[in-house]
Symmetry: C2
Subunit: 135 residues, 2 copies
């Protein structure tokens, strides 16, 4: 079990040199605060060089802005959408943005949205149960 976990970590580490958290963006300047706060937490904990925060539209920096700042040693990028579901944006707009930024030396992969993860699903159920007075 310990070996399997260690192997899992190595595989993940090898898969991506850098993770870009991608939030939607909004005309409201206060909207980005929780995403910046989340980014601050994870970059403090896991290293600023390993993770960035970008926005799909309306809020800067864009995916293009962020990728332009990365060093040449970064060749495998995972884009993790801070979205709860896949719609037009993740099925069409973001893949188009990524396709335009793909180069010979750079492999950018769009990950499933964070809302797909079982941990988020379980946390949402817990919050709802709490509002229903059940926990």
């Amino acid at each position: 079990m310990g070996n399997r976990e260690t192997l899992g970590i190595k595989m993940l580490r090898k898969e991506y040199d850098h993770i870009i958290l991608l939030a939607h963006g909004s005309p409201d300047p206060l909207w980005k605060q929780p995403f910046e706060s989340l980014y601050h937490q994870v970059s403090q904990t896991y290293g600023e060089g390993n993770v960035s925060l970008a926005y799909m539209e309306l809020t800067s920096p864009s995916l293009e802005d962020v990728i332009a700042t990365l060093g040449k040693e970064v060749r495998q990028i995972g884009v993790l959408p801070l979205f709860l579901a896949v719609g037009r944006h993740l099925r069409q707009d973001v893949p188009e943005q990524i396709a335009a930024l793909q180069t010979d030396g750079l492999d950018i992969k769009l990950l499933p949205p964070i809302g797909d993860d079982e941990r988020i699903k379980q946390a949402m159920q817990a919050v709802i149960a709490n509002h229903l007075g059940k926990v």
Copy 2:
């Protein structure tokens, strides 16, 4: 501690007769699947009469549709946005929708978005750490 928890549950139960989960809505018909799945889980667990699912725009049912189906015994409604952050929609559009649906016998309260909850924040950090190969 047991007493405090019991009291907490009673207070929450008294506060809302019904919780409406409010998701954004999308032109993509597949987009709503994770929200319907979440709704199915919580309504099966905590009772269909206690919780509904509505969409702010583009996807039906709307908040208005859902409220029209509720019985007269429902007087206190909590609207829980399945959003990660507060922007124009939750600061302006949804409060306007709610104000238009408020009647003498009905008290509709807009709750903070689900993304504000510490359980969601921690789950997001865990998912990101996992993609970074740190857990």
